[in-house]
């Protein structure tokens, strides 16, 4: 069937043009995915070519691994703790920029979007200075009489929260722009009719704006959920998972296990657990989407 289709000149040309991408995708995505699934059932270290089949041992061991369980808990806290804030703040900023009251819209858009085009390594480094023991935040607290001899990232009580705050700050610009695109697709006449009917701004927001940007809303939540589950750069740059594994996340622990402890098989099993988690959540979100539309 495929060959028959290829006989069509148009299809063949399309296929030839797609071939470089397909080859790259097979080599750099499909092959590693299959290979890592295979090694998740072995004791492969990454350093030695030897590997022994261990069955489901890696998967079972994960659920007895205290650090992995803590990493999973932290990842869920991170996801649940950041997504609502990112979403709500992004919507509010988008509505604000979209309103007629605000001038210099381009400036605001560029300003909010700036963190999105900056490297996360750069952002993390800047926030490290803000959060450091003698950083700006502690200095400001000192001026109001609160003394702290530990950096915000060096305390197990505040480290994860600090990274979450930074992440919300860094992410809102990108999602604001997406919401803005959604808002601008709402016909102006709807608001005008509502005004004639005597609707307040709050009514307009909840009865017109929010229902009509629902597809954008679901898109943002889905994308943000997947991204948040994969949080790595912030942790790698700012805390290394510490102190006391208080900022350990699944992907960072996976990295540590594979590349620092040389347990590639174990790390691969962890990756597949993460795949299953993301898959389940994405399916739930899709189901919700389908029920709405």
């Amino acid at each position: 069937m495929f060959i028959l289709k290829l006989k069509n000149k148009y299809n063949l040309t399309t296929f030839v043009f797609l071939l470089p991408w397909i080859i790259t995708f097979i080599i750099f995505s499909v092959y590693p995915i299959i290979f890592s699934f295979g090694i998740s059932f072995t004791d492969y270290t990454g350093l030695s070519p030897e590997m022994n089949f261990v069955g489901l041992k890696n998967y079972f061991s994960l659920f007895k691994d205290e650090i992995f369980l803590k990493a999973m808990r932290n990842t869920f806290i991170f996801v649940i703790g950041t997504i609502p804030f990112t979403t709500v703040i992004s919507i509010l900023l988008a509505v604000l920029i979209n309103s007629k009251m605000v001038r210099f819209k381009g400036l605001f858009k560029a300003g909010f979007f700036l963190p999105s085009v900056m490297s996360m390594v750069v952002i993390s480094t800047i926030w490290r200075y803000i959060y450091s023991a003698d950083g700006i935040l502690n200095y400001l607290l000192q001026t109001i009489g609160i003394e702290k001899n530990t950096g915000w990232l060096a305390s197990p009580d505040t480290a994860l929260l600090s990274i979450m705050i930074m992440n919300v700050w860094a992410a809102i610009g990108y999602y604001t722009i997406i919401f803005l695109a959604g808002l601008q697709s709402i016909p102006e006449e709807l608001y005008e009719s509502a005004s004639i009917d005597g609707a307040s701004n709050t009514d307009k927001f909840f009865k017109i704006t929010l229902p009509l940007i629902k597809p954008t809303l679901f898109f943002v939540i889905a994308i943000n959920t997947i991204r948040s589950f994969q949080i790595f750069t912030e942790i790698f740059t700012m805390t290394g998972g510490g102190p006391l594994n208080s900022t350990q996340t699944i992907v960072h622990y996976l990295y540590l296990t594979g590349f620092r402890q040389f347990r590639m098989g174990y790390a691969s099993a962890m990756a597949y657990i993460l795949v299953i988690i993301i898959l389940i959540i994405t399916l739930i979100q899709q189901r919700v989407l389908r029920s709405e539309y």
Binding site: G46, L47, S48, D134, N149, N245, L256, F259, Q261
Partner: protein, 401 residues
């Protein structure tokens, strides 16, 4: 026409010449691009049959590149490794034992305990980076302490830290590392254990001894020190020290040049790490360092050795010292080099190196290092009982031995 023939002959000649050369690749962290080019030119001039490729790795991703290249079967011939990584790499068969070569240079260099694992030698000690104690002369003076007589024992350090800490809300007695891998235990908890004549593992490396009296005493002292401490990452502590907010902190020589350059107004000195008591223990320090290993995938061992011999030489190693100020050659008698006369702070680190102890050569060293960071953070950041903390991690270390 004749020009074309001449060009072809030249090209063929060049191709033949390059085919006749043996290529040796070196992956390293310490030499920057300029120095690498200089070293390559010097080496190739002296060894026309060898083509040297020097790749500079970054501290952030270099380790991952090494691991990936080994897994892919394309490891470089010569690899620079931190001395704490050596046992793990050796245990995985990544490195070639070099006992057959070592005899040629054994008496010329120090720190062979960096490269020994299970009674074999797996590389060559290249560069040293012991830790010592930095102290702010001005803060000592303000606190009524003698700047010319910095603390030499634990109790003197504790008292001095308390006095400096009392100088103001943004002044701290001492800086202790937390919040990152490695530095919390290397600077200074584990060396303090060694200085207190303790060990976390028995001499035969089979039994965990973290719950022994010297370790418990050290942990209690460490916690008491935290009352006057600024806790943070090493770079944060170095910055606070530079800004004149810290009395003491422990680190390698890397911060001498940086502090002098970025904070010229801060007057500081370096001294030996305090020992437990006048008549007990010693000024133990963490023996950080870099080693050169030959990959087990290397097919030209003789040529790889020629490269290593060149890199080990005083000429090259001292160039690295002069350029970075962070490490010192392992060459015997290097302290006589005139450079150290004009760099007295660096010379103190060489003196400190006499008391430097490397991490024990354990195959699971990388996992135990991570546990040690947790131990220090639990001591400094929680109220858990010291004995309970040490007992818990003693069991975990025992499981890894």
């Amino acid at each position: 026409m004749s020009k074309k023939i001449l060009l072809m002959v030249l090209l063929v000649g060049l191709a033949l010449l390059s085919f006749g050369k043996t290529k040796i690749s070196v992956w390293q962290f310490m030499m920057d691009d300029t120095l690498s080019k200089q070293v390559k030119a010097q080496f190739e001039a002296a060894n026309p049959d060898i083509e040297l490729e020097i790749v500079q790795l970054s501290w952030a991703t270099g380790f991952d590149r090494i691991v990936t290249s080994i897994a892919a079967g394309s490891a470089p011939d010569v690899i620079e490794l931190g001395n704490t990584w050596l046992a793990t790499f050796a245990s995985q068969g990544v490195l070639r034992p070099v006992d057959d070569i070592v005899g040629k240079v054994k008496d010329d260099y120090v720190a062979w305990n960096f490269v020994e694992y299970q009674e074999k030698t797996w590389g060559f000690p290249w560069l040293l980076a012991p830790r010592a104690m930095y102290y702010n002369l001005e803060l000592l003076d303000k606190a009524g302490l003698d700047p010319d007589n910095p603390p030499k024992t634990w109790i003197e350090l504790l008292n001095a830290s308390a006095k400096i800490d009392a100088l103001g809300p943004d002044i701290y007695g001492v800086g202790l590392c937390v919040g990152e891998l490695y530095s919390p235990y290397q600077e200074w908890f584990l060396p303090a254990v060694w200085g207190n004549m303790g060990h976390f593992v028995s001499p035969d490396l089979k039994k965990a001894t973290l719950n022994s009296d010297p370790v418990i005493e050290t942990a209690n002292y460490y916690r008491s020190l935290s009352n006057y401490a600024l806790l943070g990452k090493e770079s944060e502590l170095a910055e606070a020290f530079g800004q004149g907010k810290l009395g003491f902190f422990f680190a390698g020589p890397a911060y001498i040049n940086n502090t002098q350059r970025d904070y010229p107004e801060t007057i500081f000195d370096v001294t030996l790490i305090p020992k437990p008591r006048d008549h007990h223990g010693y000024h133990a320090s963490f023996a950080g360092g870099e080693v050169l290993g030959i990959s087990s995938q290397c097919e030209n061992v003789e040529e790889a050795w020629s490269v290593i011999e060149f890199l080990l030489s005083e000429e090259v190693a001292m160039q690295i010292t002069r350029t970075t100020g962070e490490v010192f050659p392992t060459k015997v008698g290097i302290e006589k080099d005139p450079w150290f006369e004009s760099h007295p702070l660096h010379a103190t680190f060489l003196e400190q190196n006499k008391y430097a102890v490397p991490f024990p050569p354990l195959a699971e060293a990388n996992k135990i290092e991570q546990l040690f960071t947790n131990i220090v953070e639990e001591i400094l950041l929680t109220d858990a009982q010291i004995e309970e903390i040490l007992q818990k991690y003693n069991q975990q270390i025992q499981n890894l031995l």
